[in-house]
């Protein structure tokens, strides 16, 4: 039981860590990595859930969720990296302008 608790706390800590990175870093790659750490935390927690033994053995449902989640996470990371590269190719930097400073630029399909 204490093992489950320890792993759950680790997952919580990792989630907070990833979120902290996403919120405080300005480099987009760092923020994407932060999101990856958050995802790993959720997957860790799900795997912990699946080890709670039932009479039939380990619970497969969280494992299935982790598998699907990993696939989605990888696709989104790839997508995000392409987006960041695209942004960098256009603006020369892999950071976002501050939300208030985007000002009255071009909008719409004009």
């Amino acid at each position: 039981m204490s093992g489950i608790l320890a792993f759950s706390l680790t997952a919580g800590l990792l989630f907070a860590l990833g979120l902290y990175g996403m919120l405080t870093r300005t480099g987009l790659i760092h923020r994407l990595l932060g999101a990856n750490i958050m995802a790993a935390a959720v997957f860790l927690f799900l795997v912990v859930l699946s080890t709670r033994a039932t009479e039939a053995g380990a619970d497969p449902v969280p494992e299935v969720m982790v598998l699907t989640g990993i696939v989605i996470s990888i696709s989104l990371t790839a997508f995000g990296l392409v987006l960041i590269r695209y942004l960098r190719a256009m603006t020369g930097q892999a950071t976002l302008p501050r939300s208030g400073r985007e000002g009255d630029g071009h909008s719409g399909d004009d």
């Binding site: 999101a35 927690f45 619970d59 719409g108 399909d109």
Partner: protein, 486 residues
């Protein structure tokens, strides 16, 4: 037959998106999605008659019911959202069949595929009946929606899309952690089974908080709205229409489903008051920002932040009347906002930009689009006899009935603020030509009819919803969630 209808809604747009390029001519590629949208009204009608006749539907994929299998459900609320999606999709498809060939700024190929995938994802999201399935559909819609913003090209579009992407990514991880907590406590994922089983406690509140926070990021509810105005303003107008009317609203839809369905009774009234307070803050903030913008599409996008705030007013009241009001508000906002964005697209098509000061051209070719904006504005600001009026009217009455006059005040004040930003746009359109406007390029050409009529009919539909209250209110009451009291 039922399963065929659902399959058509789920896979029709997706498969069309994948094969539409194989069609031999540009004209066929433009017409294909329109034909699909018209064809899908059949399955929607079939679903509608089934739900009205036999009550809420639960469809078990492969014949396996929850908790083992994956279920889809269609109740009154889901039916209303599916119809809204179908109608907005039809309008968008007709619109882009004319606008894509003349708009050289972004690739028609990418736009069509992404939009059709998004459409499938939305249909699936509104029918999804288990927590994990919702997560998968959220990711599918987010990927397509972010890409639809990138399609506009240019550094503005890519940075707006990246911001949107980061919010969506964090949002879905919050949501997934909430799902894991629910599963850890109950071993269940099905909304239907969770709603009928007894569970609760601090873990459920934590899960509800995480899921609500994550979905709020996707719906751009105040105070996690920062990505929406830029992204919706910079996207191609036809995409903006779908993003504002459907995608952002879908996040709020899921919050309402969770709070009043599986989590009904788990939250203290104080939390509900807090949610409604956030909604009110969103209404006020979004409206004031809309009043300060100098570009038409930013006005409309901030208006979305404001209008979605209304949906949170249901939680402290949670009566049947409030339910009707909120669902009606979502429907009329969807129609009016899609019309507004498509009209803005027409103005950009004619003028080449969307500065409010350029609107004062007093050109007869602009008149139709200005009229569309006026008509949708009537619904957004809740003037009778529009659908927006009826939704607000029910919501205000429900607030007064429950003795919480302050939420009635919030709804009424939001209407006034909406009237203010709509009239500000119209004032520019009707004003003496601005000195700057003379420097603008001359108006391009006439508007194709396929670009004029979709927004006009959507706006008229938003107004006409006001007359359909008697007809539609029994439908949106079908399969009420347990959290809605009498």
């Amino acid at each position: 037959m039922l399963m065929a209808a659902v399959t058509a809604l789920l896979f029709g747009p997706l498969l069309t998106g994948l094969v539409v390029y194989l069609l031999p001519s540009r004209r066929l590629r433009d017409i294909g999605p329109v034909v699909l949208a018209i064809g899908l009204l059949g399955p929607l009608w079939h679903l509608g008659t089934e739900v009205v006749g036999a009550g809420p539907l639960v469809l078990a994929l492969g014949g396996h019911f929850a908790p083992l299998g994956i279920e889809l459900h269609v109740d009154g609320l889901a039916l209303a959202m599916l119809w809204l999606t179908g109608i907005v999709a039809l309008a968008v498809n007709v619109y882009v069949s004319a606008s894509l060939p003349v708009d050289a700024h972004f690739p028609a190929t990418g736009f069509r595929a992404l939009w059709l995938i998004l459409w499938s994802g939305l249909n699936a999201l509104f029918m999804a009946a288990d927590l994990f399935n919702i997560y998968v559909m959220l990711e599918l819609t987010a990927l397509a929606a972010v890409s639809l913003v990138v399609v506009s090209r240019g550094p503005e579009a890519v940075s707006a899309a990246t911001r949107y992407f980061l919010f969506a990514l964090a949002g879905s991880l919050f949501y997934l952690l909430g799902v894991a907590l629910v599963y850890g406590q109950t071993g269940l994922l099905s909304l239907r089974v969770l709603e009928t089983s007894s569970w609760g406690g601090p873990v459920s509140l934590l899960a509800l908080g995480l899921m609500t926070g994550g979905l709020a990021m996707k719906a751009a509810l105040f105070p996690v709205h920062a990505w929406l105005p830029r992204a919706h303003a910079v996207a191609p107008s036809a995409a903006s229409a779908a993003l504002s009317a459907l995608v952002a609203m879908a996040g709020a839809y899921l919050i309402i489903r969770l709070w009043l369905g599986p989590f009904a009774g788990h939250w203290p009234q104080a939390l509900a008051q807090g949610m409604a307070a956030l909604g009110t803050a969103g209404i006020v903030y979004g409206s004031i920002q809309a009043l300060r913008q100098s570009r038409l599409k930013l006005v409309i996008a901030y208006s979305t932040v404001a209008q979605l705030g209304y949906l949170l007013l249901i939680f402290p009241i949670a009566s049947l009347l409030a339910w009707q009001g909120v669902v009606y508000h979502a429907l009329s906002h969807g129609l009016a906002k899609a019309a507004f964005f498509l009209a803005a697209g027409n103005i950009i098509h004619l003028l080449g930009n969307d500065r409010l000061t350029s609107l004062s051209r007093r050109d007869h070719r602009l008149a139709g689009s200005v009229m569309v904006m006026a008509l949708s504005g009537i619904s957004l600001s809740g003037l009778p006899p529009s659908g927006g009026f009826l939704g607000k009217w029910w919501l205000i009455n429900a607030a007064l009935e429950s003795g919480q006059w302050w939420w009635a005040l919030a709804a009424a004040a939001g209407g006034l603020l909406a009237a203010a930003y709509v009239f500000r746009v119209l004032r520019h359109a009707l004003a003496e030509p601005h000195p700057d406007a003379a420097r603008d390029a001359p108006i391009a050409d006439n508007l194709p009819r396929r670009m004029f009529w979709p927004p006009m009919l959507l706006a008229l539909g938003a107004v006409a919803l006001g007359f359909a209250g008697q007809l539609l209110s029994p439908v949106i009451r079908i399969g009420l969630p347990t959290g809605v009291g009498g």
